[in-house]
Structures are given as C-alpha cells and as structure tokens.
C-alpha cells in the first residue's frame, strides 16, 4: 500500500484549561501543526476530528476557530480511540489518492464536565449495575495478580515510571514525579488501583498534518516521518469464558499493523501505549506481543521500559502522567512518536529511536473486552 507521512505536529499543554473552549484548544493545536508542517490553510484537502463528549460538529467549531472552513470535515467518535481513528481515516483518504494533504485533530475539554470515575454508556447493563472504567480495570488487575503471582506494588511501578517521564514533558498534566510509597499511600479508587494509577481528567488537543508520498517532496519533507501502518479494529463479542488478562482486541489490531507495514514486534524499539490505568499498560504491551504474558511488571521493575531501557514505554508520560483528554489522546501519542523519531524530545529523548508504535484503545460495552483499538506504527 502507498506510504503516507506525518509532516507536521501540534499539541496544546494537557491539563486544566478552565478559561478556554474546546474550539480554542483545537485551533491552537491545528495552528501549531500547520506551521510545523509549513503548509498553508489553502493546501489542506480535508480534516477528521476525534472527540467523545464535545457535542455536535465539534470539528467544525475547532477548525473555524483555526481559520479553516469550506473543506470536508468529518467528526469521529470512537471512545478513547477517537483521535487515533481520525488518523486512520485520514491515512485511508491519502492512500486512496483522494487527497494529498489532510489534517487529523483530536480534542476534548473534560474538566468542566466530569469529576471522578468515567463509566461505560449509561444504557449499558453493566454500567447500570455500577461498573466504572476503573472498576473493570481493577477486576482485570485482580485476575492478573492471581494468575501471575504479582502484588499491587508491582503494578504500581508503572505509575511511578510514567509520572517520572511526564515530569520531563513540558506539555504534561502532571509535572511532579511520585515515589512508589506515594502511589501506595494514595487512596483506593477500585481495589487494587489507587489514585496515581488512574489517568486524570484533562483538557487538551493535538493535531497532525499528513501528506501522501507523491506530494512529500513538494513540501520538502525533510522532517516528515513515515506512517508505516494505521490499523483499526473493534472488540469481538465474547462467547464463553475468556481470559480477561489477555487482550484479543489489542493483538488483532497490532497483528493487522504488523502485516500492513512488514514491521514485526521484534523491530519495535519504543512504544506509546494506552495506560488509562497502570494495569492497562501491562495488558497492552503483552497484548501486542512485545513481552510474554505475565512478565511485564517484572520487566518494568528491572527498568527495561525506562527511557534508557531496552523498550521504552510511554516516554511522554503516558495517559497517567501526560493526561487523558479522550479524543486528543490518540493523536498526542503519534505527536510523541514523531518528536522522538525526529530527535526533538529534549530531556526525555530515547536514544536510537527508529521504530515506534502507538497503541490506543477505548470503550467498554457489555459482552466485549473493549470497543475500539488502533495501532499506528511510525518509522524514522
């Protein structure tokens, strides 16, 4: 399939933006991405905008604020994978030859709408019985601990690592590292998960300008990074009793991306992974086939997933540290991969970053493990 490239990136600080609208945040990210790409507004052929709770035509509102109008704009809702699904849509349009330069934006303003735990859609039978997002991951953590003989403090190391990384990211929601003791003294949200092990409620936006291979040279694509694969899958309806520590959805999505790009799990040397909760990072890295099932937390403890480790995971700080404005998250992961592959990640730069993977998944509905999952592979 025809290669596509990420030409420009832009991202607002993630965190609390009480005085600014989602449209303002989206416009800021778009402006940054356009100037980073060196592309004028008139050259953008179409745009896809991911968001979850922002209401009707959020994409148009953000792009109007950025001075873009008249072009095709499609709004994308795919739970926490909304932003990365916008990238998937944009990549398909480029590969189909429909456009040469397109925009993918993810945006969410949550701090004025939510406090505390998020839950599946209120019509879902499990949500009506009290299942929350931390609740489902806590129950998966209980199984993980029982099956693989690990303790809550082992899983909590993931939060320590990601918040340490976030402290080196100027756009992070959290800028202060935490110790393991601090994580373990945090209040319980859903046993065994404690406060620091749950992604915060954040506002923010991230955008990428993407270009076809045919037009890459036209834009002097020296800083462009190849998007070698963009895969999207949905959760399969579960029949029977499945192992809740094994992510079938993550594996099927990753496998599609591996097959599309020719990049295998052994070629990947760093990852941004959907760590909405500490345990989620373990389930995902194992689910993508990067580490055998049940081994992840031991490897985190040994430092293998640190920025200077053999497989750095969530150098950006991840969702736990950088923050999690739902629709923006999947785009922000790709922004981080581009920064790392360009060698522009400053203090948190991964040495020899060559092949990065961004894994983003979201949603929960009765009878499926998760609703949407994307895997994007970028190659320097």
């Amino acid at each position: 399939m025809e290669d596509v490239y990420v030409l420009g990136i832009g991202m607002t600080p993630f965190g609390k933006h009480p005085g600014r609208s989602a449209a303002d945040l989206g416009a800021e990210a778009v402006n940054l991405a356009l100037s980073d790409a060196g592309v004028s507004r008139a050259e953008i052929g179409a745009a896809w905008v991911g968001h979850v709770y922002q209401g009707m035509a959020m994409g148009q509102r953000a792009l109007y604020a950025a001075g873009l109008s008249g072009i095709p704009i499609a709004n994308v809702e795919n739970a926490c994978s909304s932003g990365s699904t916008a990238i998937w849509d944009a990549s398909l349009a480029l590969r189909a030859g429909a456009y040469d330069v397109v925009l993918a934006l993810g945006v969410e303003h949550m701090t004025t709408m939510f406090r505390g735990a998020l839950a599946p859609d209120p019509t879902d039978i499990e949500a009506q019985l009290g299942l929350t997002m931390p609740g489902i991951y806590a129950m998966r953590a209980q199984r993980y601990m029982a099956q693989y003989g690990v303790e809550p403090k082992d899983i909590a190391q993931i939060a320590v690592k990601n918040k340490r990384n976030a402290a080196m990211n100027p756009l992070s929601h959290f800028k202060k590292p935490v110790t393991l003791d601090e994580v373990m003294q945090g209040r319980l949200i859903a046993d065994p998960l404690r406060l620091h092990e749950c992604a915060p409620i954040s506002d923010g936006a991230a955008a990428v300008v993407m270009v076809s291979k045919a037009k890459l040279n036209h834009f002097g694509g020296g800083r462009a990074i190849k998007l070698a694969a963009s895969a999207l899958r949905s959760g399969r309806t579960e029949v029977g009793l499945v192992d809740m520590t094994v992510e079938d959805l993550t594996w099927r999505t990753a496998k599609a991306a591996y097959e599309d790009s020719g990049v295998g799990p052994g070629d990947i040397n760093f990852a941004e992974v959907h760590d909405c909760f500490s345990i989620a990072e373990a389930l995902r890295v194992e689910g993508m086939g990067l580490v055998p099932h049940g081994e992840y937390v031991a490897r985190v403890k040994k430092g293998e997933m640190d920025i200077n480790g053999t497989l750095p995971v969530n150098a950006s700080g991840g969702l736990l540290g950088k923050g999690h404005p739902l629709g923006a998250t999947g785009v922000a992961q790709v922004v981080e991969l581009v920064r790392q592959l360009r060698g522009d990640a400053g203090e948190r730069q991964i040495e020899n970053a060559k092949v990065g993977v961004a894994h983003c998944r979201g949603g929960k509905a009765q009878g499926v493990e998760g609703t949407a999952c994307t895997v994007n592979i970028l190659v320097a």
Partner: protein, 134 residues
C-alpha cells in the same frame, strides 16, 4: 432485602425470575451453535441465528474476579463490591456482591436478591446479587 415473593423479574436492571425460591437470571441459547448468551439477545453473535431459545441460568456460580468500587458516578452509593460470576452454562455475568468484604477468586456464590448499589430517588434499587453460600 426484598422477599422472594415480591421479586419477579424484570425488576429494574437485570431480567430474572424465581423458581422454587431460587433466583435465576434469564439468558438465551443459540439452537444452532449452542452458545449461551447473557443478557437475553435476539441474534446470536457467533452465527447470526435469529430464533434463540429462552433459558434460565443456574442459581449459583463461581467468582471469576472482583473489585471494591470506592469512587463511582453519582447514581451509586460507594463503596460497593462487584464480581464477575462464571455460571455452569459458560456465561460470565457482572453482579453486585452482597457484602462489604469481597469474596476470593474461585468462591462459590449463589444468586439472591439484594438492594443497591444503584440509587433511584434516594432509594437502593433491588436487583440480583451474588452472595457467599451459607
């Protein structure tokens, strides 16, 4: 607690009935592939069969996993215990647990009527719960 005589499903959220004093959750079975499906469905997700049979799940099962929810959405009174129960019909069902201490993984539980954790107009909603066998 609600007496069993008063408890006829569907009450609130979970579709159930009582038989010989036992609480039985309603489910479906696909006559074509044999899969048991919870909650009751109209179409089999495995093979698309649209004439599913109504079945009742056993009145007991085993705990697959659990948590104590200490923070939730505003409709719920925290803390509360949730469990996934594996039924002999090869179906896994989320249920509130009757008790404040979570049961261990693998514990045998039976299904009884209980109140909460959901509140409506300040009153705990009556719904089937998992309970440790006496």
């Amino acid at each position: 607690m609600v007496s069993l005589d008063e408890a006829e499903g569907p009450v609130g959220i979970v579709d159930f009935t009582t038989q010989n004093g036992k609480v039985r959750l309603r489910a479906s079975r696909c006559p074509s592939c044999g899969a048991a499906l919870y909650p009751p469905r109209e179409i089999c997700p495995s093979d698309g069969t649209d004439s599913l049979e109504d079945i009742l799940l056993s009145s007991s099962g085993t705990v697959y996993t659990f948590t104590v929810a200490r923070q939730s959405t505003p409709e719920f009174k925290t803390p509360y215990v949730l469990v996934y129960v594996d039924f002999p019909e090869d179906v896994r069902v989320l249920l509130p647990f009757a008790g404040t201490e979570p049961p261990p993984i693998g514990a045998e539980v039976e299904i009884i009527m209980g109140a909460g954790p959901r509140l409506e107009d300040g009153m705990a909603v009556s719904t089937p719960h998992a309970s440790l066998r006496l």
